[in-house]
């Protein structure tokens, strides 16, 4: 059997959905962060797969994926720093505990 673009897209979509589910349900901030990383990865798979199957002449998709990886890294850095600060202030990393601001 031959692998089609569909296979990769299914995989990407599955990863995206798992990430989405995690982002919506994990109680821990870091858990959410990790889930979001999964969503980024889903996008990266898409980019690479599209590049390979549909636009094999260029490398735009892969380059874009690299940019995404970098940006994701930057986000994680800030996010973790933030989580640590909050943890220092209020000793919790569960998002349910963040409800000072509401309404």
């Amino acid at each position: 059997m031959n692998l089609s673009l569909g296979h990769y897209l299914v995989l990407g979509a599955a990863l995206f959905l798992i990430g989405l589910f995690g982002a919506l349900t994990r109680r821990n901030v870091i858990g959410i962060l990790m889930s979001i990383e999964l969503m980024f990865n889903a996008a990266n798979i898409n980019l690479a797969a599209f590049n390979h199957y549909l636009h094999p002449g260029g490398v735009t998709g892969m380059t874009a994926a690299l940019f995404v990886i970098t940006v994701a890294a930057a986000e994680v850095v800030v996010g973790l720093a933030l989580v640590l600060t909050i943890y220092r202030n209020s000793a919790t990393a569960y998002v349910e505990d963040f409800h000072l601001l509401k309404g």
Binding site: I32, H99, G103
Partner: protein
């Protein structure tokens, strides 16, 4: 002096005088300012008499008309736009000439009389200002050539009546009576108002000659003429206290008695009659309106007379009598008796003013209106008694007194038109004789029933008796003078357009004699009941006819109907306001409220669906759209935010992908 050319001065001089009196001097019970008013009206009297004299000897030509431009406004009649130049002016015809004399004369005498009657009143000066203002308005009504100006004066007359009835405003009753008078007459004025609108929409002018011409040329549709006629009648019924709007007049007796004499006997209440006469050409074009006038008059004459029979308040008896007599006039007008009606108006002015002033004199002496507390006053105030007797004879129609001429003329005219009406009027005439003599007997003869009051009674000062004398003289002689050589008929007559005059019956000779016989019987009956020292028979009769008496004393429940009407108005008002504040306001202003309630329900729905959320919900249910939307964010949970977002996103993605 060119009296006629300066006839416009007649209303203006009292008007100016009124303002001078009102503004030029401070309030003072002994103010000399009334002399200004008397002087003004004196001048008017001289001028009026001069015009009258000129008209009688034919040295001046009537009708006389003179107009000035007042203001203008755009109008469209029959699709044709034009700038209507509203004139203000005078129109002096025979009726106006006579009315001028009547009004000026009575006004003059009443003002002189009031010097005595009102002397020492804290608002003495103001009283004269009001009187002068009234006179001005009334004279304006008489001389105006413009129906709208007439209406304006008509309203101002009503206003003067309001302030004069309520002159002693510190007491509650006059205040109430004044209001009642104004509102009741205003009710009638609505008809007049609509009639005016109708006239203008058809004719495009308020000028009486132009309207007359319009009618004469046959442009006026019969239906419109009827409507206008009825509208005018409505107004006249209010002002002239015709059935069923006469309820205000008895109450109006709360005002000072000279005021009653002037306004509610001689002049203002005659304005309605005068108005019908002034617009007689319209009635001529509408048999229905004519018919209505006749019957309204006849009914009024009878009903008022019956009510007078049971009344003990001397002024109210006179008031009912006035109403009844006005009914005579109205009926006469309704029976093509233009001359007869106005003739009676003229003579009635004299003797009714006389009677009121006499009553005033009596009240001045005994300080009560109740005839049951009087009696035998002829001993104390013979002149007044004599004057009253003269007046009573005149109104009763004792031959060769003024009332006899005019009433006879009416009865004849009415009989010729419609015998049914004649019988009603004849009956009224008989009743009139009865209750008027009842008044005389109760007041001036018999025994003194209230010794305290009797002891203090005294004859009035000359300022009051002199006018009485003059009026008494007029009551005796005016009829003879005016009917001599058909003087009045020559002066005041209406020429019906050809073919409009209905076929008439011929009055049998001796009709007057039969009526007089009946009247004489009534007088005797009255003497039998009230002329002696004991009233047993009267009491007995009263007991036997209790339901009838009751009905009459309650004034046929018309007052109650009026009150019920007022009450209905109040209720309607309250209901309207309730609707306003509870319904319309709710819907249209606090429409948000409605939305909010809906939203609250929505919020409840949410909670029902996500029942576990309710556990956390500490605050009450949200109360608006915003509340419902806010529900999404109320807990401040980031993942809930994400969920909502993702839900919308997923739905949209699904829809767009598969569309």
């Amino acid at each position: 002096m060119r009296m006629l050319e300066h006839v416009y001065l007649i209303p203006l001089i009292p008007l100016v005088a009124s303002f001078i009196i009102l503004l030029a001097a401070p309030e003072d019970p002994h103010s000399p300012m009334p002399l200004v008013g008397i002087a003004a009206i004196g001048w008017c009297l001289i001028q009026s008499v001069a015009i009258f004299y000129g008209a009688v000897i034919g040295s001046i030509h009537i009708p006389y008309q003179m107009d000035w431009s007042w203001f203008s406004f755009g109008a469209t009649i029959g699709g044709k736009p034009f700038l209507y130049d509203m004139p203000i002016g005078v129109l002096i015809d025979g009726a106006a000439v006579v009315m001028l004399v009547v009004v000026c004369l009575v006004s003059f005498l009443v003002q002189v009389y009031s010097l005595g009657y009102m002397h020492g009143d804290p608002h003495f000066k103001r009283y004269y200002a009001y009187l002068s203002f009234f006179t001005a308005a009334m004279l304006g009504l008489v001389v105006s050539s413009n129906l709208l100006v007439t209406f304006c004066c008509w309203e101002l007359v009503g206003f003067s009546s309001y302030i004069l009835i309520g002159f002693w405003f510190e007491r509650a009753e006059p205040a109430y009576a004044a209001k009642k008078a104004f509102i009741t007459t205003k009710l009638g004025d609505l008809g007049l108002y609509v009639a005016l609108l109708l006239i203008f929409s058809l004719v495009g002018s308020f000028q009486i000659p132009q309207i007359a011409q319009f009618v004469a040329q046959g442009y006026m549709p019969a239906g419109a003429a009827t409507a206008i006629g009825l509208g005018l009648l409505c107004g006249a019924a209010g002002k002239s206290a015709q059935f069923p709007l006469f309820i205000w007049l008895p109450d109006a007796m709360e005002g000072p008695t000279p005021v009653s004499a002037l306004i509610h006997a001689a002049t203002m209440v005659a304005a309605g009659i005068y108005l019908v006469a002034k617009c007689y050409f319209i009635y001529a074009a509408s048999p229905i309106a004519m018919f209505a006038v006749a019957w309204a008059g006849a009914l009024t004459a009878l009903l008022a007379a019956t009510m007078a029979v049971v009344c003990y308040d001397i002024k109210r008896v006179l008031a009912f009598s006035t109403v009844s007599q006005l009914g005579f006039m109205m009926c006469a007008l309704g029976c093509w008796g233009y001359t007869a009606g106005l003739f009676h108006l003229t003579t009635h002015a004299a003797f009714k003013a006389l009677l009121f002033l006499c009553a005033g004199s009596v009240i001045h002496a005994v300080h009560t209106n109740d005839m049951r507390q009087m009696g035998n006053l002829s001993k104390k105030m013979p002149f007044t008694a004599l004057a009253t007797f003269v007046g009573t004879c005149a109104i009763t129609g004792i031959p060769f007194l003024s009332g006899w001429y005019s009433k006879d003329m009416i009865l004849e005219q009415v009989y010729e038109y419609d015998p049914h009406l004649f019988f009603i009027l004849a009956l009224s005439a008989v009743l009139t004789a009865f209750y008027m003599f009842r008044l005389v007997f109760l007041t001036f003869t018999g025994t003194e029933r209230d010794l305290e009051r009797y002891r203090h009674a005294h004859e009035s000062p000359w300022t009051m008796t002199v006018p009485l004398g003059i009026l008494a003289a007029l009551s005796i002689f005016s009829g003879a003078y005016l009917s001599h050589n058909h003087l009045f008929e020559r002066l005041v007559h209406f020429d019906p357009p050809a073919g409009l005059m209905p076929r008439m019956n011929v009055a049998p000779p001796g009709l007057g004699g039969i009526v007089f016989a009946a009247v004489a019987c009534a007088i005797l009956f009255s003497y039998r009941l009230y002329g002696r020292h004991d009233f047993r028979l009267a009491e007995d009769l009263k007991r036997r006819l209790a339901p009838v008496f009751n009905l009459l004393e309650r004034r046929y429940y018309l007052d109650d109907s009026f009150l019920a009407l007022v009450d209905l108005g109040d209720r309607t008002a309250k209901m309207a306001f309730w609707i306003d504040s509870e319904v319309i306001d709710r819907i249209f202003v606090d429409g948000w409220d409605l939305l909010a309630q809906l939203a609250a329900q929505l919020g409840q729905l949410f909670d029902a669906l996500f029942i576990d959320r309710m556990v956390d919900e500490t605050g009450g249910l949200s109360v608006s759209v915003g509340g419902a939307l806010r529900w999404l964010i109320r807990r401040g949970m980031i993942q809930e935010y994400l969920l909502w977002t993702a839900a919308v996103l997923s739905t949209l993605a699904f829809l767009i992908a598969w569309r």
